[in-house]
Amino acid sequence: MDDGVSALVEMTGISKSYGGVHACRDIDLTVRAGEVHALLGENGAGKSTLMKVLSGDVTDHTGEIRVAGVPRRFGAPVDAQRAGIAMIHQELDLVPELSVAENIFLGREPRTRLRTVDRRAMITMTRGLLDRCGVRLDPRRPVGALRTGEQQLVTIAKALSLDAQVLIMDEPTSALSPVEVEQMFTVITELRRAGAGIVYISHRMDEIGRIADRATVLRNGAVVEEFDARELTAERAAEAMVGRPVQAMFRTRAVEPGEEILRVRDLALTPRRARSGRREPDGISLTVRRGEIVGVGGLLGSGRTELLETLFGAGPPGTVRGEILLRGRPVRPRGPRQALALGLAFVPEDRRIAGLAIDHSVLANTVLSIVERIATAGIVPRARETSAARRIVADLKVKVGSIGDAVGTLSGGNQQKVVFGRMLLTEPLLLLLDEPTRGVDVGAKAEIYALLGRAAEQGIGVLLASSEPAELVGVCDRVVVLSGGRSVRELDTSHAGEAELLAASMGEGSTAIAVDTGGAG
């Protein structure tokens, strides 16, 4: 191990359990200067927990942490930050009401001589940081008004501002599309060159081979393998994580699409009150047929989310123009409830904010959409409720002790499956999925894809928005590319590949997004 490169951080014998759950068992991990160390593992393998231990968020662990050779015991995140360890959290931990600059410097505000906050310095410094990440954002905008992807960029800038020796990035790219990912890689390369050590957690296997130097794989809270990441293939990594070979990720089945379920023609929405940061549909046409999986591609802010929300009636109130035909009949969902009744189902992008009641049981979260349907005279028979939940939990292979456990104690991927399961229980005609595999591990991804395949076979139509080109190309039959709220291209994935998709996304007709190829600024 000791190849002359100094270890910035050595963690030895780290264990941590939640109640009876052993999230980390006796883990050793070193982070060296100038390396990108990938931390891999299934959902719930203990990656985030291990890093929370390192960043001083989780404190009731056993084992030892040495920073630059000195044993440390952190009592709070500040302690770790003072020791030069910064972390970008998986769940975006920003304060929506504060501005970008205030968020970045929260807890470490630059002061004037009068001990007041030096706002001007803060804004200038923020500009610098954002430039480094290649984002043009007004530092004074409240973070709550930013898109998920933009927020992720802000957390990255925030972590950079700490000038940390060790930077932990817990799924920093889950909401980013390829362009921003590239930009972030540039930043990482810079940091590495400056001698920082980086722990990189991601479920996007293609990223690992590109950026990481070493990789450690966790399973069941314990280290199972270490690799030299540069010679790591996605298959190899997946196998190490899951413990057995993972079958072909993407389906190969040739589709036999049936009748048309959804036809959208020139859909446009003028919201009653404009909300900044949103890109409402402004001329979208597409069709989905039975058994078909149609992708929705585009860059950050191209209006994918907004399209799905509008179809589901979950967008802002306003005037809808154009046509939405569901099985040939014009419809205009006024709200999620009506949309569900029409046979639509929607899995939102941000499960924590829009998907789950975190403190409530898996049971309560799963059956929420069908309690009325299975009730007689308003009374829900407990047996039917639990059997429905058990069935879907088994079908989706949700890893959970008992369906009575709080959904917040599940790993991210399993939480995602719960939201998914809730929608499948409604037996929809058409599934609207917004980034359904965000933060989901390879194994679970494969399961979800298989599930989508099965749903399609049963004649359900799927409309799937995703930022991952590989996913769109691999899973979908066709991909509709959005730009600036319009549908600009439609690709047949049996002919077109990722490169074409990317080209189409960045291509013509974009007003919101100006692609600046000349580096930052």
Binding site: R219, P336, I353, A357, L368, G401
Partner: protein, 336 residues
């Protein structure tokens, strides 16, 4: 494949089972103290005297009935400060309708319950549809209900005399002041019990209650899951207004009078009962069982302090401390 089965030892299981009844801890503790330190008379524990126990329940029945409705509102993340004033309005309404307008008992009760429901409905609209914070809507509602009660009653308590003549209320209404089962169980206590049982069963079994919890847990998620959020919220305020009006009817029946100042400050007692019972003011977590325990705790405490003739100022201190400690007990729940 990773298995993340939470392994709980059997000890953990016992503890967990115990903590399911956590909202009763405070009540049990206060009850035990009240028994052990009960004043005696001829060697008998006065506190455990049957009459006394029923008095306790009777005394909390109004707060209890309101607190059940309050639980519903708080479960969806709201709050209702108007219940005390609605109680006053309902008490006045019952009296005026029967005495001045010669309504029969059922007609008067029905109209008053509808008024409570309607008042809750309007508040629900303002809060759920127009998105004004429930605290402020119902703070205003409190003033409005009080004003209406004062105007309706002419500012004075309206006495309820019983009989068949004009200006007299039907004798049936006076039942609310009586006791049943051999003169043991006060009717208000019975009504409280019925309301509580219905609410508990309703919360356990109904689809509607699943919606309530979901809204309190994550409103946006509930909406996207097809929960009719606005409708549920409005309905919950209706229920709360309805129960406050019911409490007002009970109040008028017990006191043979409806006064516009009745129920002043009751909202805080009702909220205290709910919170002591372990319902979170953030919504999404709690139960009516807890609320009933909370209300009884307050009642036992009042009774105990009263039996001992504790100085009223000291009573305030003791009550304050007990409320904090009881609410603190709710925090003991093991995580997960």
């Amino acid at each position: 494949m990773t298995r993340t089965v939470p392994h709980r030892g059997s000890g953990g299981r016992v503890v967990a089972a115990l903590f399911r009844f956590q909202s009763l801890f405070g009540l049990v503790a206060v009850f035990v103290v009240a028994v052990v330190f009960s004043p005696r008379h001829d060697g008998a524990l006065l506190f455990l005297d049957g009459d006394n126990l029923f008095n306790v329940v009777r005394a909390v029945s109004e707060i209890g009935i309101m607190a059940v409705g309050m639980t519903f509102v708080i479960l969806v993340g709201g709050i209702d400060l108007s219940v005390g004033a609605v109680l006053g309005l309902a008490a006045v309404g019952s009296a005026v309708l029967m005495v001045d307008s010669d309504f029969g008992v059922f007609a008067a009760v029905a109209v008053v319950l509808l008024i409570g429901l309607g008042f809750g409905f309007l508040q629900g609209l303002a809060s759920a549809v127009f998105g004004i914070q429930a605290f402020i809507v119902t703070l205003a509602g409190m003033q409005i209900a009080r004003g209406l009660a004062r105007i309706w009653s002419g500012g004075q308590g309206v006495a309820i005399a019983y009989g068949d003549g004009p200006g007299e209320a039907p004798l049936a209404f006076s039942l609310l002041g009586e006791r049943t089962f051999n003169g043991l169980v006060p009717i208000p206590a019975l009504i409280f019990a019925v309301v509580a049982v219905v609410a508990i069963v309703f919360l356990r079994t109904s689809a509607f209650s699943r919606h309530m919890y979901a809204i309190g847990g994550n409103e946006q998620a509930a909406r996207l899951s097809g929960v009719p959020v606005t409708r549920v919220k409005v309905a919950v305020f209706c229920i709360c207004g309805f129960l406050a009006a019911l409490a007002g009817i009970v109040h008028a029946g017990q006191l043979n009078q409806g006064s516009p100042n009745d129920g002043f400050g009751y909202e805080l007692d009702a909220i205290a009962a709910v919170v002591i019972g372990g319902t979170s003011l953030m919504g999404g977590r709690g139960s009516v069982t807890g609320t009933v325990a909370g209300a009884l705790l307050l009642g036992v405490l009042n009774n105990f302090l009263g039996l001992h003739g504790v100085d009223p100022n000291i009573q305030l201190l003791v009550k304050g401390l007990v409320i904090v400690v009881a609410a603190g007990l709710q925090r003991l729940r093991p995580a997960g």
